[in-house]
Amino acid sequence: MMESHVDPKRRLWLFALTGLVLLFLVAPTLIVIPMSFSSSNSLTFPPPGYSLRWYETFLTSEKWQLATSVSLRMALGAMVLATVFGTMAAYGLHVTRHALRGALYGTLVLPLMVPSILIAIGTFFAYAALGLLNTVTGLVLVNTMIAIPFVLVTVGAGLRSYDMNQEMVARSLGANRLVAFLTVTLPQIKYSVISAALLSFIVAFDEVVVAVFISKGEKAPLTQVMFSTLRDEVDPTIAAVSTLLIALATIPPLVLQLLANRKKESRP
């Protein structure tokens, strides 16, 4: 806490303004939930009546079912690949003292800094040549690239707080590097790896811009279908989809919180 250098009257204004801004940040997300239970097909708020019809539409329409399945396959694929490749890279960059280390790290976090429209047009261009447009494989690969920086940062942080000497001991007792990593290091950085995996899943599941460019029709993920629906018409099914996405998005922070608590407990 910092000693205040604001007189009480001004302080009240500050608190009021902060309250309003925080409301501005949270309210829009929350308003989607009651909208999804509306019985009307207009976007009036509060809804004139309540029903489950938009969830019914979502669950019965082939368009939304296909998109959900593409999204899940894409996000799971990207999660597995990004976690494996990202953890490998994080470990390699952590252990090595090679001169290329900094340059490689910079390269791998680059997808985080390049505007997504550029990743989108670049991938579109590359996939046109490779024949990967409108494929789940294509979506998995590009989302793996987009998620790797998150894995690199998360697992890298885990490795920095881990004592590498333990692995040295295992190796000096005859385990090779892979065995030493899998049996000694990995169990101790597992929370970082799980966090990284969850983060990659969410990043891939939520990605819109690249999906809009490189996928359409039957091979389009949920975000692409939502975007084109939003652009063309006002369909309250979006509110139902959005509510499900909000529910999905609250799971990882909760799991992470639980993991963090367990981590604290397991420490002496």
């Binding site: 997300t29 890279a89 670049g122 261009f125």
Partner: protein, 296 residues
Amino acid sequence: MAGAIAFNTDLLARQEKRERANILRLALPASLLVLILLFVPIGWLMSLSFLGADGGLSFENYTRIWTEGAYVAIFVTTFQVSLWVTLICVLLGYPVAYTLNLLPEKISNILMLAVLIPCWTSLLVRTYAWLVLLQRRGVVNSALIDLGLIDQPLQLVHNMAGTVIGMVHIMLPFLVLPLYAAMRAIDGNLLRAAGNLGASPSRAFRDIFLPLSAPGLIAGAMLVFVMSLGFYITPVILGGGKVQMISQRIEASVSLFPTWGPASALAVVLLILTAAFLLLSWIAVRKLTPVETEAQ
């Protein structure tokens, strides 16, 4: 004897070198992905941007950007939107970070959730929410009419206002988070010392707190500005076709022109702008960070 030792160290050094290279190979799959999906296509697009419509070497894709009115207008709009978003984020974000910093850490950690929750929510969900809130008969307009502030509903969506509101909502956490971290790092004793030496609270704020929080503010503001330059989804949905930013033009060029030249020239310009502003903010933050804190 001495020779044997020298030989051994030599061998060890070579082994060590091989080991370093080997271990670095673990980063190979990830690097290959970035190479194939980012470096090669963007490099190729860069070279295509110098090809004219007739297939010869030309700068026509670039000269078009600053001679044709439509392109100039797109850059003006992009900068306008980005500046508005950055300005509003600073005006709203600074007091929020400041207040969170005044409060005990336990309370501000809970309030911080309000800043973090939107980050976890899909960008599309939030854009959709604003579409609902800002429409003619939406919550915002009815609230303003009920309060007697306006008689007729305002046009808040499908224009610049809607785009800026939606983008501020997405970008605000990117300003508040680094700024709050920077403010937490400021030593409260400095302000107390200023007070003891006779500085008024507003003077202590202006001469001590503001300069010390400046690096965090500049870093956050630059991040917001640079990220705003490349926005695509929000201007398309909340701008309703009336707000044309660079990204939309790139998308349009891909479908509009048979060659990649025009789209890639725009992409190159966006890439250069992004890199230039990031570099600028890095320099500014370094310059503004006091030497003492840097050494810590």
